[in-house]
Symmetry: C2
Subunit: 284 residues, 2 copies
Amino acid sequence: MRNKVEGTLLIIGGAEDKTGKCEILSRFVKLSGAGSSIIIIITTAAEEPDRVGQEYRRIFNKLGAGHIEVLNIDSRRRANHSYMGRLLEKATGIFFTGGDQLRITSVLGGTVTNEGLRSAYLRGTVIAGTSAGASVMSSTMIVEGDSDHAPNLNSIKLAPGLGLLEEVVIDQHFAQRGRIGRLLSAVAHNPYILGMGIDEDTAVLVHPDARLEVIGSQTVTFLDGRQIIFTNISELSPDQALAIENIVLHIIPRGFGFDLAARRPIPRSAGRIETEEGEKNEDS
Amino acid sequence: MRNKVEGTLLIIGGAEDKTGKCEILSRFVKLSGAGSSIIIIITTAAEEPDRVGQEYRRIFNKLGAGHIEVLNIDSRRRANHSYMGRLLEKATGIFFTGGDQLRITSVLGGTVTNEGLRSAYLRGTVIAGTSAGASVMSSTMIVEGDSDHAPNLNSIKLAPGLGLLEEVVIDQHFAQRGRIGRLLSAVAHNPYILGMGIDEDTAVLVHPDARLEVIGSQTVTFLDGRQIIFTNISELSPDQALAIENIVLHIIPRGFGFDLAARRPIPRSAGRIETEEGEKNEDS
């Protein structure tokens, strides 16, 4: 499997702590350069972009960010403005708020902003997203789907995402909204894709070497379908229940990691895993 | 692995259809002998035993049952009455309603009724249970646990069940109440135990050869922990999140089966699997 990652991504399962230690958001500010950071908040997904944008501006400020810019790109016309490209060129951190993931891709897809985002990513700018902003990171994303049901074909709609992380499909608010059924269904569509279900107040920090670490208070569920022996997904009528034989599941909490290339969990003591004290253990 | 099953069990994930085709309850009545059946309803788990008992009596009647008896065994004194033993001796089907599983085991455990139940089971009487009545079937049962959370030690309390099905832990209302976290946690306690999460309006019919078939409208999730490479469960403080590396998951809908001895799904065409028309395909 080739190396699927080219920059640094912080993918957040939604409802991250905004009032306490802010472990995840504070990590984003630090990674972006803290006092010398230039952070751009993209509120395209949000229903109330002004309120959400100001909330994150206030938090990033409190956490010691340098310069902060809120971009409410609400139309493809705005997304194609050359100003956007120039802004993103200077960014050291880009943050996608939650909301509706289809807003992000339908407004930004193929625009100057999208190009600027991709260049920034390749240049090493940290790209972060929470909730809907997390879902859009992968090549294929879950647009909507039933929770709390047995998985079936009706349980998800898929769409092309921003494609910053390949061969993965991401779901968020994972345990809290009982979404394993729809992620199982997504993986059964093409078992080559790795399912990544991120709980609330939890994030994966993906490094350019395709290793990720889990931070935050809950867990990340990985569904690896490569060993699937049988699935009936191609023969189902829309409301029939899905059959899957032999999918491998990993549950990974804070302090552990995951190697996306090898598709293996990384134990606490190995690799570039941050301890709770914020210390780094370099590769042993 | 030895054969863990000695009779016929119908284990229902709760909220089974009671007004439409009643696929599951009607299967129970047929297995019990239909017009010549003697069915005993045990309402010990229920908060409103009279209402629940009368509801099932009415349904089993409508589905063509022969003789029906509702037993509200609400104390260990009653459970030890020799009358209970004599009643259970004649039963061809015994049905446990939902409610609180700890009521069932704390009232019946070690009594004449418990003995009578076990004898009936070994004699071939069909033992059915829904919701709490499903949970009590196994040697170890889940008493309570958080749903919709990342699995941790706090997420379950376990207790000894009635022990009719060994080496399995059962959960019910599974997808509908987002209970995979607590079942993962149960399996991590001892990966030798097979986790069986039954959705609402879905049941497993366990045959004496340790093969089961899935009936009803949703699915059954099997968690096989024998391949677990690592779990941190023994080192956790109560609120820390659980890590599990490499657990195998199967999703099995109606028409498919599962071989408990081999721990393998049985495809639709093989084994003693009932088709939707109620036809039987004998072992091929």
